[in-house]
């Protein structure tokens, strides 16, 4: 719009000083903005190293998908569509702003010919749509107040005014655009010039009808005044953005480009440091211990509350809300690295102040927050880094300390003797039907069944181990276990911040697995699955039992008897480390759907929105402060979906679900079964075809 003004400025010479004013606003605005951004960069420069510029093509693809195409936004339909409209409008209008900044006050800018005309039409609509969206957004924030924007008292004060003020500023910008286009067209018409048609039904075209009989000098003066107002607002907004949630408008593209690429992994203690003995202090104890990318995350948070809306810990009333992990750190950063005065933060420790210990231990690392965040902000790595800091300072809850010590001395959190690790295979009824080899100097096999601690030692969960072994046996897999040589996978040890202990467990397992000479690994525990796949490296291919079953169902090696109980309605619960962290959603469902006469429903929160059962591994030893158990919430979700059997594929889900069924008083109304157990139960066995009345598994295995 400015370029049109300039042509009219040339007509009215008295407006020449206005041109200098524009130039001044541009230069001052840009200078101020550059200064502010430079100051905001300061903590990032002091932050820890991070590796975020590898694999540029994948990163670009992500920018196209998650930034430009706003991929995650429609997950929240209303707010998402609103955001997509605003974003599209912004992009359209920003092209002109960018051009202005680049070309300054040149008269010549403008897309040529038809494209230019089309672009003008597009901007008319964009301004209209964005303005309407701003009105909707302001009404939404002030009248409807969606619950997820509320700020619980313990997390400090909200910034509702901030959001509305910024929405208002954008609305002013849009109004300027609209008034300018309308008054410009009206003036041109009065002057008898060629009038570019305004976009049909857009606000500028409607407004033009109202302005067409206004006096010409007034129209010309309005145009200039609007221009000045627009420029002021634009630069004010630009410079104000780095002070609040609107910073994401600038940082989002970088944040998405630099987003974490490898699901399910945990960042190293320090990037680029191979030997941990060279690291003086582990984890995050001060703000500057965060990596620069994690700081950028804090800046990028738009405070939309989707993470916390999906966080099971938050839902259960634990003192954790991922949103405030970001917001509190951002406020800390703004406060200690102010723009207009000297930095105050030289290594202020903030555990116990900014974050409470309970807040940090409350996370089950389920990944629901990260899955939801439209800006791809990371939480798990930050939580793990904060825990590393706590572990390094010795601040570990007593109940977890016990389990960690047992892991150190016995290789499992229960403190059970290693020589009893294979005892689950010696149950007499099981031994008759299936013999499990222990892989050592004397016996070998192609496939290793990595059992892990809970399946080896927990009386209830051992049944999952036996079902898995019988399935492997049924499909003719040459398999064995490591027995006493197998240590805990260390999956939660690492995610609880005890990196040194994790590495010691990992090294022992790597050695044992390599010595066994297997060419494939199967596990029934998604946590072990994730550890072997993502944390260990340099291993033969790893498969979860549900994947192996699905493959064999497809190949016709596994056939099922129909489900006998007509009243049974099954719902599959996605374990976090099988689903979100490893994207195995369909295999377990395909297996269930292959069982004849099985009625299956989906819970509202399923697949990548699955709701964590309460966490596994060391989380079983943690005594959280919470209003209710996550498992209870989950069991109620299954009931709401109309299910009475929850099928899961993770030993920890099983423990939590069965406990939750009891706590919720739903015994008799709801049961839980592992996918392997169900498959084992429904399997048509070669030797028992025609004798389906015979129970296929020992009754003692099913509680």
């Amino acid at each position: 719009m400015v370029e049109t003004v300039h042509s009219s400025l040339q007509v009215s010479n008295w407006l020449e000083p206005a041109r200098i004013l524009f130039l001044m606003i541009h230069l001052l605005g840009l200078a101020l903005f550059s200064y502010i951004v430079a100051r905001r960069m300061q903590p990032l420069l002091r932050g820890e190293r991070d590796v975020r510029f590898d694999r540029p093509w994948i990163r670009l693809e992500r920018v196209l998908q998650y930034w430009l195409a706003q991929w995650k936004h429609p997950r929240y339909r209303g707010a998402g569509i609103l955001h997509i409209l605003i974003f599209a409008g912004f992009i359209t209008l920003a092209m002109r702003s960018f051009a202005l900044i680049i070309f300054g006050l040149s008269d010549s800018f403008g897309f040529p010919g038809e494209v230019g005309h089309l672009y003008e039409l597009l901007t008319d609509w964009s301004a209209t749509v964005v303005l309407l969206c701003m009105i909707v957004a302001i009404v939404r924030r002030t009248v409807f107040k969606p619950a997820r924007y509320a700020v619980p008292e313990r997390y400090g004060k909200g910034h509702p005014g901030d959001a509305i003020f910024l929405l208002g500023l954008i609305a002013i910008l849009m109004l300027c655009d609209i008034f300018f286009a309308a008054s410009n067209a009206a003036a041109h018409e009065q002057q008898g010039k060629v009038v570019e048609s305004l976009a049909l039904l857009s606000l500028p075209s409607i407004l033009k009808q109202g302005l067409i009989y206004a006096p010409l000098p007034m129209l010309l003066n309005t145009r200039v005044a609007i221009c000045i107002l627009h420029e002021f607002t634009f630069y004010f907004l630009l410079c104000y953005r780095p002070f609040g949630i609107q910073f994401h408008v600038i940082t989002s593209i970088f944040n998405v480009y630099c987003a974490k690429l490898d699901r399910g992994t945990v960042k190293p203690v320090r990037w680029g440091v191979a030997n941990l003995d060279d690291v003086n202090s582990f984890g995050v104890k001060r703000f500057e211990d965060f990596t620069w990318k994690h700081m950028l995350d804090f800046y990028s948070c738009a405070d939309c509350g989707r993470c916390s809306d999906n966080c099971p810990a938050n839902a259960a009333g634990r003192p954790l809300s991922p949103r405030f992990i970001s917001i509190k750190a951002r406020d800390f950063s703004f406060q200690h690295y102010p723009v207009f005065s000297r930095s105050k933060a030289d290594g202020v420790a903030f555990i116990g102040g900014l974050y409470s210990e309970d807040e940090i231990w409350s996370c089950t690392t389920c990944g629901a927050c990260e899955e939801e965040c439209p800006l791809m902000i990371e939480y798990i790595d930050k939580i793990v880094d904060l825990r590393r800091g706590l572990v390094d300072e010795g601040q570990v809850p007593q109940s977890i300390q016990k389990a960690m010590k047992a892991l150190e001395s016995r290789g499992n959190p229960y403190g059970k003797m290693p020589k009893k690790k294979a005892d689950w295979t010696t149950a007499p009824e099981f031994r008759e039907s299936c013999q499990v080899k222990i892989l050592d100097d004397k016996q070998s096999a192609k496939t290793l069944y990595f059992v892990d601690s809970i399946t080896s030692y927990d009386d209830r969960i051992q049944a999952i181990g036996r079902a898995t072994a019988r399935i492997l046996d049924h499909v003719g897999e040459s398999f064995g276990i490591l027995g006493a040589a197998e240590k805990d996978s260390g999956h939660e040890v690492r995610r609880f911040g005890e990196e040194t202990l994790f590495q010691s467990l990992r090294d022992k397992n790597l050695e044992a697995i390599k010595a066994s000479g297997v060419t494939r690994i199967v596990t029934s525990d998604p946590h072990a699955f994730n550890a072997l796949k993502k944390d260990y490296g340099d291993l033969p291919p790893v498969e979860h039992i549900s994947q192996l079953i699905a493959r064999n169902v497809k190949d016709g090696n596994i056939k099922f008897d129909p489900v006998k109980n007509d009243d049974a309605v099954y719902a599959y619960h996605d374990p976090c480390y099988l689903g979100r962290h490893n994207q195995v959603y369909d295999d377990p469902r395909n297996v269930l759907d292959a069982i004849p006469a099985l009625k299956r429903v989906e819970m509202e929160r399923c697949r990548d929105r699955s709701f964590c059962c309460g966490g596994g591994g060391l989380m079983l030893f943690y005594e959280p402060k919470e209003d209710q158990r996550m498992g209870v919430l989950r069991v109620k979700m299954a009931a709401k979906a109309g299910a009475n059997v929850i099928v899961t594929a993770c030993p920890f889900c099983m423990v939590n679900m069965e406990d939750a069924i009891k706590v919720a008083g739903m015994e008799g109304k709801m049961t839980a079964i592992d996918l392997a157990e169900l498959v084992d139960q429904q399997l048509v066995r070669r030797d028992s075809v025609g004798d389906s009345s015979k129970p296929l598994i020992a009754t003692s295995d099913v509680r």
């Binding site: 300072e393 570990v396 007593q398 010590k405 047992a406 016995r410 990196e499 040194t500 202990l501 010691s504």
Partner: protein, 263 residues
């Protein structure tokens, strides 16, 4: 304040399945995992918190074979400044008085304002702290579950007594206190911490260094000897209640009422 904490290496009860050996004179120690006696660990934590607040040093000492080094390193990793291993072949199989005598000899070589022990160790005798105090002619308080430093070389300590009640005492320094678990939340010591103190030299003191007659301690000096070790035969008296949850609860209430447990 210079604080000495006496610690002991014991089989870790939370990580072991304790069984008698075939000879029936001891527990089967083949697969045992050892760790620092739990109340002793609380005592070390308390000492560390005291010096963090009011300055000083924490020293840990143990009477053990050279395997005792393992727990001393753990306590060093926790934050103790010095450690000492009181060890000699002639010291093995000391009775409680023998251990107290060895510790007394060590205490008299230095200058400690406060000596802490755990309330009791694996054998449940709870004897060494009291004996050590008597031998040193120091005041003693047992079952201590909070310590506050007062002016004028005094401590205010609370002791756990019957029914979870607390008894508050003032006690003059130097003194010996036996520390009850729950007095604090001991900090976590990971492998990394232990690795960092792996090369710290731990001095070993024998009869010569302590200036003690080897015959007065150990097996030869012991006046208490263990003669047998057995697990009592399971008696009658346990009753498993069967039925639904409501039925079981009703039965429990009935039984408690019958025995006078409920009014």
């Amino acid at each position: 304040m210079e604080i000495l904490v006496c610690v002991k290496r014991v089989p870790d009860t939370s990580e072991n399945e304790i069984e008698l050996n075939s000879a029936g004179n001891d527990i089967d120690r083949d697969d045992l995992v050892y760790s620092v006696n739990e109340p002793d660990n609380y005592a070390v934590e308390e000492a560390l918190q005291m010096v963090e607040k009011s300055g000083g040093n924490v020293t840990v000492a143990t009477v053990d074979s050279e395997e005792g080094e393992e727990i001393l390193r753990r306590e060093l990793a926790m934050g103790a400044k010095q450690s000492v291993l009181i060890s000699d072949e002639s010291f093995s199989d000391s009775d409680g008085a023998g251990v107290a005598k060895l510790l007394k000899a060590f205490v008299q070589k230095g200058k400690y304002d406060l000596i802490l022990t755990g309330v009791q160790a694996d054998n449940g005798a709870a004897e060494v702290g009291g004996m050590l105090a008597a031998m040193l002619d120091y005041p003693f308080a047992s079952l201590v579950n909070s310590i506050e430093v007062l002016n004028g070389n005094k401590l205010k300590v609370s002791r756990e007594i019957e029914g979870g009640n607390k008894e508050m005492n003032e006690i003059d320094l130097p003194c010996v206190l036996s520390i009850q678990t729950g007095i604090n939340q001991p900090r976590y010591v990971g492998m990394r911490g232990i690795r960092q103190v792996a090369t710290v030299e731990i001095p070993t003191l024998g009869p010569a260094e302590l200036g003690i007659d080897a015959a007065s301690v150990g097996k030869s000096g012991a006046k208490v000897r263990r003669t047998d070790y057995f697990v009592p035969v399971l008696g009658k008296g346990a009753e498993i209640l069967n039925g639904s949850r409501e039925e079981v609860v009703d039965k429990v209430i009935e039984l408690l009422r019958a025995k006078g447990g409920l009014q």
